[in-house]
Assembly symmetry: C2
Homo-oligomer: 122 residues x 2
DNA sequence: GAGTTTGTTCTACGATGTGTAGAAGAAATC
DNA sequence: GATTTCTTCTACACATCGTAGAACAAACTC
């Protein structure tokens, strides 16, 4: 289970929010500008690079090694990643149906409607 | 997000699997007997107690302080806990509907059937 | 009720993960 | 070739977790 730290999370959020690949410098700047309600921090580029390396090792990030300032992208979309995590959590329990019952009870009506639509009629 | 270590997880699994409250000694013995496919370990009782304290602080475990060998129980059922975790994961993404779409695509047919049944009406 | 047994709390240490970044090395640019 | 830019290596502090001994408290036993 890939559990992320705060900074790792911030970096992933930025990569997910940006369609193009980003350089470490671009990420550092984006972080400094308090991107998503977070407190903007002035980080050293090496800090960002370290985090990117770790995310790469975790399989969440890919880097283009040929382009000179390396460019980084997320391997999966945020939605895929989140859905995958949810599934990982689900399968930790032996009685998945019971878990799903509780889960369905916890989602909003709008989300329930979405689920019905996705699951098709019947 | 309460992420559990291996031993913490083992302890929770035992508490969830046992209807009655358990003492630290009972837990130590249960762990030693390789409960759930795990490698049985001979742990010191203090080790188990430390883990129980930590789980208590995390809000996952409750202890009866009056009974002399303190007895420990899980605060929530495994299913509730798992469903709650899933929901926590879900709400980390801005586009929950998209996540749910991916998630529904990843569950088995049996689980999908369960979901349909649960979502039943309208 | 003093001594022994049993149970709990305190403190601690090693390993791992994460935030942080400087120093050193490699590549591009001038 | 010198300077700038970028990447890798190494490192440190702090938190979490597995692990448990030492010290303290309660209970049981004559």
């Amino acid at each position: 289970m890939a559990t992320l730290g705060d900074l790792e999370r911030t970096v992933m959020d930025l990569l997910w929010a940006t369609p193009e690949a980003m350089t470490a410098n671009a990420l550092r700047d984006a972080i400094a500008e308090a991107p998503l309600g977070e407190v903007g921090r002035e980080l050293a580029v090496t800090t960002v690079l370290t985090v990117l390396s770790r995310l790469e090792k975790k399989g969440l990030v890919e880097r283009e090694r040929d382009s000179r300032p390396h460019r980084y992208t997320s391997v999966t979309s945020r939605e895929d990643h989140t859905a995958e995590l949810m599934h990982e959590v689900l399968v930790t329990a032996p009685d998945r149906e019971a878990v799903l019952a509780r889960f369905v009870g916890s989602v909003s009506e709008a989300e329930a409607k979405t689920l019905r639509k996705l699951l098709g009629g019947s």
